[in-house]
């Protein structure tokens, strides 16, 4: 199958600069600088249908188009490599094999946006990826592909690698901006959106690693080609899926957008773990709703997954087998979110520990009927928080109540976990 992001990958090691270049790397940059205006690059990205791979799935080219070009002062681009959502590890795999697509993608985005200085914000634990990037940045610079007067053109750009202390909330784009400014990583209120007022008050685009790494191929081979890669008509491009849980092979694979869950599990994952049966999965990282066996044939794309009450999110699929307690699984995720709340707003800071307390009790056999009402209230009212962390945190609970309320009740009725 055609690979875009993984095209240059070598088993067990990182691709070298030379190998990447020999395989057509940086040709997109050359093409853009010599043949295309920044606007044409942006238009190509709009036309390609590329949507943000950080989770929200917003059209990347359109996001770029919101950046005002007539304001005085610098504009900024930030690549978001915080990747701390449980289940999500695609950006790490991508960068551990190939930092160059990202570097080229960031440079292209800077070209399109008129950005002079970009940042790659990477979480502390990603040492290998960070080393690859650091090395790649040096190589690109030495080759005249980065820094002043790139490829002898008027276009210059610097990329800084920022190793963050790392918290889940640092992945939220405005909290990330605060962190980069050296402040507490509390999110900022929107509006104003970063596109108009972001880093140090300047227009700022924040994009995910996978999003930006797709850009070179779009420029090199055209938006039409990219859009055509998808399996479904509305889809565009390839998508990284990183699978964990009860499958035989836990892999990170690049597949066309619109591939079904069943194909992913049965194909590259080699099916379920021997002797187990699919019970449910989380399709797009910890902040998405459970899907059930009836959803196995849903094409994995933003709108199609949204239609069945979940989200494609980051494409991190966590698979649960029959006999696995989803109350415990939800509790596990909520524990993570409660810990990672930034503590700014009341519903998230206090509500998540409340949910955790209730779920802990239910799982321990001390649940009460009224607890279900409490959980429902939280699913509804944690939507009204300052940022998207809390609504995301409620997604698995929402899925639990929607598809597995009987299992939850069983805990309360039996006064114990039915799976133990």
């Amino acid at each position: 199958m055609e690979q875009v992001l993984f095209r240059h990958n070598r088993p067990g090691r990182v691709v070298t600069f030379k190998e990447y270049c020999d395989e057509g790397g940086f040709n997109a940059l050359r093409k853009a600088i010599s043949e295309m205006t920044p606007n044409e690059v942006q238009q190509a990205v709009i036309d390609s249908g590329l949507r943000g791979r950080g989770g929200a799935g917003f059209s990347t080219g359109r996001k770029w188009s919101f950046v005002p070009r007539d304001l005085p002062g610098p504009r900024w681009l930030i690549c978001n490599c915080d990747e701390m959502e449980p289940g999500t590890y695609k950006d790490r795999v991508l960068l551990e094999h190939n930092p160059y697509s990202l570097i080229e993608g960031v440079t292209l985005a800077c070209y399109a946006l008129g950005v002079r200085h970009a940042f790659i914000f990477i979480r502390r634990g990603y040492e290998k990826a960070a080393n690859n990037l650091a090395q790649g940045l040096i190589e690109a610079k030495e080759a005249g592909l980065l820094g002043k007067r790139i490829l002898a053109s008027e276009f210059s750009v610097d990329i800084d690698l920022h190793l963050s202390a790392g918290r889940y909330i640092c992945g939220e784009e405005t909290a990330l901006i605060n962190a980069l400014e050296g402040k507490r990583p509390n999110p900022r209120s929107k509006p104003p959106f970063p596109a108009t007022k972001g880093l140090w008050g300047g227009p700022t685009v924040v994009n995910n690693v996978e999003t930006l790494a797709n850009v070179p191929a779009i420029i090199a081979k055209g938006p039409g080609w990219f859009k055509g890669l998808a399996r479904n008509a509305e889809g565009a491009g390839m998508k990284l899926f990183c699978v964990s849980g009860a499958v035989k092979n836990r892999v990170c694979v690049e597949l066309p957008t619109g591939t079904t869950l069943r194909e992913i599990i049965d194909g590259p994952c080699g099916g379920m773990k021997p002797g187990t049966k699919f019970k449910a999965c989380i399709p797009g990282g910890a902040s998405t709703q459970f899907l059930t066996p009836e959803h196995l044939d849903v094409p994995m794309d933003y709108d199609t997954v949204a239609k069945v009450g979940s989200r494609l999110g980051s494409g991190a699929i966590i698979v649960f087998e029959e006999g696995c307690c989803l109350v415990a699984a939800t509790l596990n995720l909520i524990t993570f979110f409660a810990r990672e709340s930034c503590g700014w707003c009341t519903p998230c800071r206090e509500g998540l520990p409340f949910v955790k307390e209730v779920l802990t009790r239910i799982e321990a056999g001390a649940g009460e009927e009224r607890d279900i009402e409490i959980l429902r209230e939280h699913v509804k009212y944690l939507n009204y928080t300052f940022c998207a962390l809390a609504p995301g945190a409620m997604a698995p609970l929402d899925g639990l109540l929607r598809h597995f309320e009987a299992e939850l009740r069983e805990h309360i009725v039996q006064r114990k976990c039915p799976f133990k």
């Binding site: 409660a338 800071r349 009212y381």
Partner: protein, 660 residues
């Protein structure tokens, strides 16, 4: 002007007004914790939820951060909004102690109010409460972190508004902590405002903890008399003891805040050694007898030495009423002298201010916030006008440059909450390039020529005065031809003085008889006086003072004077909260005063200084004056103490300010 409907009421507000403020303008209070009009928006507590029924946004929204827009239909009572607010309270109460009866905030606690209003009463959370360690924050503020509801008001005030750096927020999730990196006294000279701004009992006033409840207090709108800025405040008095002092809003002068001196310095008022009884030659007597004695002595003195040997001395801490009455007293004698200032520099400077300043060229404290160039010209800002600093900081944060022409003698070492560009002279400051420049200076220290240079550039002046009513005293001095006391001394004519709330140094008074002295402080002068008349402090007085910008402000009597009903608390007395007992005062607090059923208040003979003067004048054969604000001063009688005060320049249209 956006038009919207809130709870079926049509509302029209200025663009930029939030839904919460719009609701407030028609008398609907939407519960809120993190919202504070003086602070940047946080939208953190989520208590101010309302439901938008129609218009550009729909559903549950936070009213504190939602700008009012045309066509909005808002419900503050929709069941969903009520549920959201009830949940916010329930969430906050998960970790909040349930011990209001032993919390000093009880009765003045926003959390209490909105918990009751929100209807949360049954606990559903079954886990433990999170607890924190408290910190020692110095002798003024007590810290009880368990009571925190994480509204972030304190940091937004302390760091953003006041520019403090030693206090902030640490931690995340349920462990967010508001404090210092380590125990220690808060460094900001505005730290006391944490007490007012925290909606719960995390920060309480250590100098007045557990002395009384909010509903016990006597309150009155008052004006700080520590410096010439004239910040608005309200003493909280219980049984004739000032327990706490809180800030009072005046958008032009002090916004919502006061400095720590205004809040915590209650020494003069509660001072156990404060002279309470009239004295004649050291012997306590009653007021009438003391006034009789003083009148007789003045009469004899004038008979013997002639009126030209007599001087009446006031000060810049005397109220406007007192200053005017002093003028009347002097007028009663043909050739007696009047003096408000000892030092000619002070006298001249204050005088200069009354001559130069007009409604057009004077700057109010709040004007500093929108200035585009600020100069600190030989002022010790943090001592002479500390509440100007936050406004200057605001301008500075917005990019305004602040220049300082420092007088090395005045560098108190206190950090300013903004950066300054040092300049040697005014000529180095690009004042001409600014359109809203303000020069902050001090009346006693700024030569006329320099001020002319400033005025030529169109910059406005914030000219601080040597005392809280310095401007008022100078106006009266001008009206009545007062002279600096040093000049009177040099002329060698004066042989006897009568002083009212004056701080003349006694060392200067060789060969001069202090016939009488009226004061509420035990000054050296009062020890030397033949007749002593105790007066009330400003908190026990109704009166007027004029701040540095010519703003007349009325303060009202908060309580009747007299010994505190309970005596002074041994604990606080011992800790010298009121200062070391004066020589001759007991080391243990004075006991509870005797109670005389329906009698007079023990130790309560003090009267306002101007009233003492009026009675003295009557005894000297003058007319009884019951209202000192007459003639051109008459309009000041109607000043509403809660309406922000009034600039006095319009009162004196006849005497045009000098051209520079």
């Amino acid at each position: 002007m956006p038009k919207l409907i809130i709870d079926n009421l049509p509302v029209e507000v200025a663009p930029g007004t939030t839904v919460l403020e719009a609701a407030r303008s028609v008398g609907i209070t939407i519960p809120h914790f993190c919202y504070h009009p003086a602070l940047a928006l946080a939208s953190a507590c989520r208590l101010c939820a309302v439901k938008m029924l129609d218009g550009p946004v729909k559903g549950i929204q936070m009213s504190c951060s939602l700008p009012a827009q045309d066509g909005m239909v808002v419900s503050t009572t929709d069941p969903e909004a009520l549920k959201m607010r009830a949940l916010v309270i329930e969430w906050l109460m998960i970790n909040h102690p349930h011990d209001c009866p032993v919390c000093d905030e009880g009765g003045e606690c926003l959390l209490q109010d909105f918990t009751i209003a929100g209807g949360h009463s049954r606990r559903r959370y079954q886990g433990d409460k999170r607890t924190h360690r408290n910190q020692y924050l110095g002798e003024h503020i007590y810290h009880e972190m368990n009571r925190c509801i994480q509204c972030y008001r304190c940091v937004r005030f302390y760091q953003d508004y006041a520019g403090g750096t030693d206090f902030g927020v640490t931690g995340s999730a349920g462990r967010v902590y508001f404090g210092r990196f380590e125990d220690g006294p808060l460094e900001s000279p505005f730290s006391g405002n944490l007490v007012d701004i925290c909606p719960t009992g995390v920060f309480t006033d250590k100098t007045g903890r557990f002395r009384a409840r909010y509903w016990d207090y006597q309150f009155a709108p008052s004006v700080c008399q520590h410096c010439s800025v004239g910040c608005n405040l309200a003493p909280q008095v219980f049984q004739r003891e000032v327990i706490k002092i809180v800030g009072r809003r005046n958008d032009q002068v002090n916004s919502w805040f006061i400095c720590d001196r205004a809040r915590f310095d209650k020494k003069g008022i509660n001072d156990p050694s404060r002279p309470r009884a009239p004295r004649v030659d050291g012997e306590a007597t009653d007021y009438e007898a003391a006034l009789d004695a003083l009148a007789a002595r003045i009469y004899d003195f004038v008979e013997v030495h002639g009126p030209e040997s007599l001087a009446f001395v006031g000060s810049s801490r005397l109220s406007l009423e007192g200053c005017l009455m002093l003028g009347e007293l002097v007028a009663n004698f043909d050739a007696a002298s009047l003096s408000f200032y000892g030092d000619p520099a002070e006298a001249k400077g204050s005088q200069l201010a009354t001559e130069l300043l007009s409604g057009e060229n004077v700057a109010a404290p709040a004007d500093l916030a929108s200035a585009d160039c600020i100069v600190l010209l030989s002022v010790d800002l943090m001592n002479e006008g500390p509440m100007l600093a936050p406004f200057i900081r605001k301008a500075w944060l917005g990019g305004t440059k602040v220049y300082r022409i420092a007088d090395p003698a005045l560098l108190s070492g206190q950090q300013l909450p903004f950066d300054c560009i040092e300049a040697a002279t005014l000529a180095e400051v690009p004042l001409e390039q600014a359109s809203r420049a303000i020069v902050v200076c001090h009346a006693t220290r700024t030569p006329r020529e320099e001020l002319s240079d400033v005025a030529a550039t169109g910059a406005r002046l914030a000219m601080l005065q040597p005392g809280p009513n310095g401007f008022g005293a100078a106006l009266v001095a001008r009206e009545h031809g007062a002279r600096p006391f040093d000049e009177l001394l040099a002329a060698r004519k004066v042989r006897g003085i009568v002083a009212f709330e004056s701080d003349l140094p006694v060392a200067n008074l060789k060969g001069i008889t202090v016939l009488g002295c009226a004061d509420w402080q035990a000054t050296e002068l009062s020890q030397k006086a033949g007749v002593f008349l105790p007066t009330t402090t400003w908190m026990e007085s109704t009166g007027t003072s004029i701040n540095f910008e010519g703003r007349a402000q009325r303060f009202e009597r908060a309580f009747r004077p007299g010994y505190p009903l309970k005596g002074l608390d041994a604990k606080y007395y011992a800790q010298s909260r009121y200062g070391e007992p004066a020589p001759g005062q007991p080391k243990t607090p004075p006991p509870q005063p005797p109670r005389i059923p329906r009698g007079e208040i023990p130790g309560g003979q003090e009267i306002e200084a101007w009233k003492a003067m009026a009675r003295l004048l009557e005894k000297l054969g003058g007319e009884l004056i019951v209202e000192p604000l007459t003639g051109s001063w008459q309009p000041l009688r109607d000043i509403d103490p809660e309406a922000g005060g009034e600039r006095i320049f319009s009162l004196f249209k006849s005497s045009e300010p000098d051209t520079l």
